[in-house]
């Protein structure tokens, strides 16, 4: 080895030029947390405006910019990069690989993200304001009627799409080629499995999103008429293309969350995961079905009845593999030696709230009923139950679960549990009443509302402030752990945890598995 460098470089260049999967994972995680705070502050403005009926704080146009940027920043800036960060940290350690397969591309896929979001956020200060056409950016609202800043929005989407594609190619190349000898596909930890399938979804649909925004760009600047009826195009085409990307996208967000929960619940139930094989097949089935259900987002555009029926039944079919997963998680806990540390609390919270979100999803899948629910607060409540209580709760669980391994220090358990309970209560106060106002007819994306919705909206806003504040506690807990947490030295931080990542020293050294580990052929999946 001689003069071969083993530690990280010093100073800023360590982070700029790093090809180390742990460094890049850390940067992804911090970046996504920053975006979580940014998107969260947009949400606070939305809820402050909706605290009372009537126009209180902001202009309607600015309100629309807030709903748009909140959605874009949370989906593309917070949730997706956070799971990519987790994948970077954990996948090589879980499959016994020394690093990602393409470390230099890994560096690029992270470092093009901050400029993309800087550009997106900068549209707030441009003439005509930021995009205000909703995170779904339906044409012609996003083409004919868009502010001039839409071009920067398009470029930002192109860049972050490129980043996602590079990140997912890297994950597939790593999982397919760098597993330790003896680790067959059906021995991979479930987090690796769900990410492998997610990465295939990303490679398939991020280019579709890029195509959609490219068509917008051409309609706006180069005289084409993809989405303009006057020139022979069709605005409804936009919705088909967008949701052909958009529906797999929601599984891109939730499948890694499924993987996290499938790692953590067995650790705190002290039992192997129930139904490992069925978990893998259910994940693959969900991924396949996600490509043939997109039009359930657009039942009201005027589809033939045969189309409505097809998309309705196909959508309902997704409840089957998802039900298999929920069943397996519950059965893993059944008669387990349960303990309720913070990661487990977040997983159980995930399980309960995600299932509620799944049920409201099933309600929305019923085409004739959807005509009532469409674009109402019921939809807002539904997707926050699956996005926040699904993706964000599982991400919090993941941070608490692996943080001691990452930094060699234990977080404050009392503070962690407090974070969970405030999150859980705040989240439900925020979003549960939105089911009711939605069913009663309150439309989404409006800055003002009828008087009869006032009480529930005030509740929602109070809940949102509580939920928002609890994330500051989370940040404090994480920073305090890194700076001055109680040191842990056990390789296996949690007594019930299984998997290769718990065989390396704590804190995880800069380089791990430079020599591939031996996988016991008799040992089941980890």
């Amino acid at each position: 080895m001689g003069d071969h460098a083993h530690g990280p470089a010093k100073g800023l260049s360590r982070w700029l030029f790093t090809t180390n999967h742990k460094d890049i994972g850390t940067m992804y995680l911090w970046f996504s947390f920053a975006m979580f705070i940014l998107g969260g502050s947009f949400a606070m403005i939305i809820r402050a405006e909706l605290f009372q009926p009537g126009m209180q704080l902001v202009e309607p146009g600015f309100f629309n910019q807030m709903t748009t940027l909140h959605g874009l920043v949370m989906v593309f800036g917070a949730i997706m990069p956070s799971f990519v960060g987790l994948a970077n940290w954990m996948i090589p350690m879980m499959i016994g690989a020394p690093d990602m397969a393409l470390p230099r591309m890994n560096n690029w896929s992270f470092w093009i993200l901050p400029p993309a979001f800087l550009m997106l956020a900068s549209t707030l200060f441009m003439e005509g304001g930021a995009p205000g056409f909703g995170w779904t950016f339906y044409a012609p609202l996003s083409t004919t009627y868009a502010p001039p800043s839409v071009t920067f929005f398009i470029f930002a989407i192109h860049i972050l799409g490129l980043s996602s594609i590079m990140g997912s190619i890297n994950i597939i190349a790593t999982v397919m080629n760098m597993r330790a000898p003896g680790m067959s596909y059906m021995k991979m930890p479930l987090f690796v499995w769900t990410w492998l399938i997610t990465a295939f979804l990303l490679v398939a649909v991020m280019p579709v999103l890029a195509g959609a925004v490219t068509m917008m760009l051409m309609d706006i600047h180069f005289g084409t008429s993809f989405f303009s009826a006057a020139g022979g195009g069709d605005p409804v085409l936009f919705q088909h293309i967008f949701w052909f990307f958009g529906h797999p996208e929601v599984y891109i967000i939730i499948l890694p969350a499924f993987g996290v929960v499938s790692q953590i619940i067995p650790a705190f139930a002290r039992k192997p995961l129930f139904g490992y094989d069925s978990m893998v097949y259910a994940t693959a089935a969900i991924a396949f079905l996600s490509f043939i259900v997109w039009a359930h987002h657009m039942y009201t555009v005027g589809m033939p009845i045969a189309g409505e029926l097809f998309f309705m039944y196909a959508t309902m079919l997704i409840a089957v593999p998802t039900g298999v997963k929920v069943f397996n998680w519950v059965t893993t806990m059944w008669r387990g030696s349960l303990s309720f540390e913070t990661p487990m609390l977040f997983c159980i919270g995930f399980l309960i709230l995600f299932t509620i979100g799944g049920f409201t999803g099933l309600m929305l899948s019923i085409a004739p009923a959807d005509f009532q629910y469409h674009d109402s607060y019921f939809v807002v409540a539904h997707f926050h139950y699956v996005m926040v209580a699904g993706a964000v709760f599982s991400m919090s669980a993941a941070v608490y679960y692996w943080l001691p391994k990452w930094c060699g220090r234990m977080y404050n358990e009392t503070m962690g549990k407090t974070h969970f309970w405030i999150s859980f209560i705040g989240f439900n106060i925020t979003f549960f009443p939105q089911h009711f106002v939605g069913l009663a007819g309150m439309p989404r994306r409006i800055p003002d509302y009828a008087l009869q919705f006032a009480d529930f909206n005030m509740m929602s806003s109070i809940g949102a402030f509580i939920y928002g504040a609890s994330q500051i506690l989370f940040l404090y807990n994480v920073v305090a752990t890194i700076v001055s947490g109680k040191p842990v030295s056990d390789d296996k931080v949690w007594d019930g945890a299984e998997g290769l990542e718990w065989t390396v020293p704590t804190p995880a050294p800069y380089h791990t598995f430079e020599v591939p580990p031996k996988i016991d052929p008799a040992h089941a999946h980890t």
Binding site: A173, P207, G211
Partner: protein, 186 residues
Amino acid sequence: MFRVSRKPAIDTTAKLVVVAVGMFAFVFVVMVPLYNVLCDALGINGKTSGQAYTAAQSGVDESREITIQFVATNNEGMPWEFGPGDRIMKVHPGAANTTIFHARNPLPEAMVAQAIPSVSPSRAAEYFHKTECFCFNQQPLDGETSAEMPLQFIIDRDLPRDIRTITLSYTLFDVTAMAGDAVATR
């Protein structure tokens, strides 16, 4: 299995790049044309064919009468006066019918318009055959002039018997800015 490179990671990467580029191309060369073909063929969205109908119909079905309603709408910002000559026509399936739409450009400068048709119920779209329509082409009008724009159509004899009323709606778009481009397909 075909291999691009002897390094397995590079091989996987190269194949996945091909998939990603292929999906980008898929949007333009498959999704867009397929959507248009399907809408034309199945009459989805109430779209009628952009081409003149030429096939012959064998005789007139005098046993039933179909009510045709004409609706004219100006797209946002379109200043023309635009309306149907007949608001309602009663026709027999298989018979050739003629009507006109009035248009007047009230502004001093010349403009070009494009009418976009839509049929309701959308199931009827594939049975609504136009042999001549002002909507097949862009319509130029000099300033402060008016025109009568012809429409000839045949209702297919195979029109489902439960459809007794068909509404044909035209929305008029101002395409002066893009006129000259060969973008109008209907």
